[in-house]
Symmetry: C2
């Protein structure tokens, strides 16, 4: 007999993370309704329990039921949103239009909206309220889907919602730690990509390890300044979502933003992957604006901005950065 | 004409770091007197400007003069000590016996003495005074010797000595940042090795990246607790000597303590390298004692202790650790 939580849980987005988190949730609840924008993916999941696009050859839990319409999530008590940040607002509009009103919303999407500088949570607040839950941590989807050891952080203004989401997510191997800083947690997921691009660029121009890890240290500490300036807690940067995710994203060969940096350092420019999103490239402009507005001199943000936006030669940008690296 | 500081500087220990730092210092002063315990190394350096043991084929600065007797450092205004921690006290005794009395002492040696729990700086204090300078950072000697981009931290109770050492060390690429926490800086150099062994063990038993970087996050935060408990500042762990050196030592393939962990995880035990010292193995016992005395529950210290000292099977130790990973 099933011993998990009797609860309808929905997941929006059948990409790598949406599918992975559905797999975790399926260990704890009776049914996971996974929304895929693409009909073919939904059909595959329902027929063969496989997401051929993201995890071919991997059998998904048969408690995952795929749907192709957001309307089908209407009865869900909790809905996880995992779409790329660029499509986040549009997804929320659609959810609203389809009559989704009373669900607890959880964002696993990370990013910052250009012009508005809104985090994904702040966009939820525009359409719903401030009781959403944020999930963020050093969580490669390819490992989450296998239920391999992982810690994630969650935060919310609603203690009740936090407890419910924790219950839905936690397994023996997938550990969930609550933190008390919603905005800080969201910023961790944004800033780490800038650190990852910075480290990638340095690797691309073959900076030695002492130098690269000095740059990473600088970025880590600048993240604290940035988070503090927007009302978060600097100590959040020490948590799994901060320290852990910065290292994972900056160092692992699995990390896209790290790879982006390496390629740019090697003077190989890529504009678009096949459906792949480089959050670092998107967010550095907005973060740079925030730093300028708050009069924060953040050398790592400037470095990435100079290379990605101003198209400065990476080696020249590094020289400028190094000149002032120990200046506070 | 030479524009550097007119000063006699000595370095004790012609190992990889002693030789590397001599090379940096030689860029700033007129003469570096490098003491080697082994006559052959000293002769090689004086005859061919090469340290064949550590940097064969690499031409050292000819301002480096090697000596084979500590007596020859008597006139040095500043002396850097770079010997392994296990020989540190004996070296100080010899220095004292040879009549070295008025030099500013700098320790680049890292470690903690068994039984006494004394840091290298605290041992200096027993023989001299508390005005010593500590140097520590993410500083692979193999990169320092080439004057590649590197940041190091220094700390001292004497502002005057700090300024002198900074002047002697800083170059365009070798950057020096002062911090205001002598004991915290020393502990960074000790604790990072425990983190490195922990990460190595996890790699050896093939723990996935989400899991490994969660462990590293836990260790990072436990270092803060430990440093605070012995009177240092937790924020020191955020600095180059903390964050930067933890990452470097835990992740780089160049790191011995990381390698030690990997081998143990793979059930390959090594007891001795060829003159190679595993500081992590030496210090975990002493750090564990300190944690117990201070009633600190440090799960990463316990994990490394269980595997290295209690000879627990690494996979079993990991399972125990993971069970409680999110407990504060």
């Amino acid at each position: 007999m099933f011993k998990g939580t009797k609860m309808n849980v929905g997941v929006v987005g059948a990409g790598s993370f949406g599918t992975a988190i559905s797999q975790i949730i399926a260990l704890n609840v009776e049914e996971v309704i996974l929304y895929s924008r693409r009909k073919k993916i939904a059909e595959d999941i329902n027929k063969n329990s496989v997401n051929n696009e993201y995890y071919p050859n991997y059998k998904l839990n048969n408690k995952i039921r795929a749907v192709n319409s957001l309307k089908d999530l209407k009865e869900c008590e909790v809905i996880f949103i995992t779409v790329p940040s660029s499509g986040f607002r549009k997804t929320l509009e659609e959810m609203k239009n389809e009559g989704i009103n009373d669900s607890i919303l959880v964002t696993a999407s990370k990013g910052i909206e250009p012009i508005s500088s809104a985090t994904m949570g702040q966009i939820i607040q525009e359409y719903y309220n401030d009781k959403y839950v944020v999930v963020s941590g050093p969580n490669f989807a390819s490992e989450v889907v296998l239920n391999l050891p992982t810690v994630t952080n969650i935060a919310s203004n609603s203690k009740n919602n936090l407890n419910i989401v924790k219950k839905i997510l936690e397994t023996e191997f997938f550990k969930v730690e609550e933190i008390d800083d919603v905005i800080g947690l969201e910023y961790c997921g944004i800033l780490k990509n800038i650190n990852a691009v910075a480290n990638g660029i340095c690797e691309g121009i073959q900076i030695n390890e002492n130098g690269r890890y000095a740059i990473l240290t600088k970025g880590f500490n600048e993240n604290k300044k940035i988070v503090e300036s927007i009302g978060g807690k600097p100590s959040t940067i020490d948590e799994y979502c901060g320290f852990g995710d910065i290292i994972l994203t900056s160092i692992s060969k699995q990390s896209r933003n790290h790879t982006l940096g390496v390629l740019i350092g090697q003077k190989l420019e890529i504009n678009k992957g096949h459906g792949v999103v480089f959050e670092g490239k998107n967010s550095v402009k907005t973060i740079k604006e925030i730093c300028d507005k708050k009069c924060l001199d953040c050398k790592i943000v400037n470095f990435v901005y100079d290379v990605l936006v101003n198209k400065e030669v990476a080696k020249t940008a590094f020289k400028n950065l190094w000149k002032n690296i120990t200046m506070k």
